[in-house]
Amino acid sequence: MTSRKKFGRYGKEGVLETLERIIAEHPFFSGIDGGFTNLMTGCASNVRFNRGEYILKEGDTANTFYLIRSGKVALEVLAPQHKAIIIATLGEGEILGWSWLLAPYQWKFHARAVDEVRAIALDGKCLRSKCEENHDLGYEVLKRFAQIMERRLEATRLQLLDVYAVR
């Protein structure tokens, strides 16, 4: 069962400070200006997913992305008459989801928690709106996502080469 803890025992301000610190310390946002972290905190919440739980599903509306704090997530494709095919796994320090950035804002894969996953969920609509208002924030976010996309594209190309096959 998903748990979305908003405020906890520290009160609203305490939790927001914690969320801001977690976001600032997450590798994806390493080096980002403190003012931007503060802006993004308003779109953030703590989430937890149990083992086996689906975090997002192919075809659903993409309005969130996740900063993974702990646990492992499997990206899957469901093929007719086949079991789910795991195409990649993501772990601590990585981000899950970029379909929220680009229209038509639809998830392209399933994402399943392989074990218990703790993450910071960032509301995509909220963040898109803030990026439109503040283009410097938008550039910082896009720059980081572009690096992620480049690394994953390179890894996918290497995966496609099937280098271990006998030729």
Partner: protein, 271 residues
Amino acid sequence: MLPQPYVVRQVSMETPDTFTLKLSPETVSNGSFFQPGQFSMLWVFGVGELPISISGDPAEHSQLVYTVRSVGQATNSLVTRNLGEGVGVRGPFGTGWPLQAARNRDVIVVAGGIGLAPLRPVIYDVLNHRDDYGRLVILYGARSPRDLLYRKELAAWAHRRETQVLVTVDYGGMSWRGHVGVVTTLFRYARLQPSRSVAMVCGPEIMMRFVTRELESHGLNRHDIYLSMERNMKCAVGFCGHCQYGPHFICKDGPVFSYEELRPLLEKYEL
């Protein structure tokens, strides 16, 4: 140059197409010695001769161990030897991994597929002489879970002190609970201290190119990165030229090279 007679003492299956053979000399000998990274020419009488990396413990002198992937007639005839049957052994040949240069430093072992076999002697040496080395980081990738070599040993190594073992597969399936992705994706989880590390890499050449790029981006110097290269071999002593690689003979000047000396050649696709 003459093959020495050895006898098959054990054949064990690592994966559906990969087997580990243990050979011991047919007659009493002074022992079988080798440096991690070296290879032997194994002669299957009446079939042919193959270069195979030695994959056993360099501290064990009573036998030689080889992990062989069955991909054709010669390798298949090798892995289907019965216990007690003979195999001719020439060598060991070639250069070994830079264990001296790695003393008192962290050792990063990056292997792909059967590339873990020539690196296993390094792991044995580091674990047998734990105080002579820093941290040991093993990054290993294979095509699928059923293609992983030495699974029990990998699990055991992960529990050794100052040792991190990360394993991934390109294609996982539903029952695999580990990492899925190419071996370069493991770097984000590896605890590295680049300035005090030596990296040793073995696997498909394309994989090694991607890995060296990743190692450099993590701050390792080119002269601290070593690769084990492979080409067709015949004589194994630098005469026939079959294994020529630019100005080098893999059999004699390698198979282990520093990335610093190999980098210009790796970029030449016609080699």
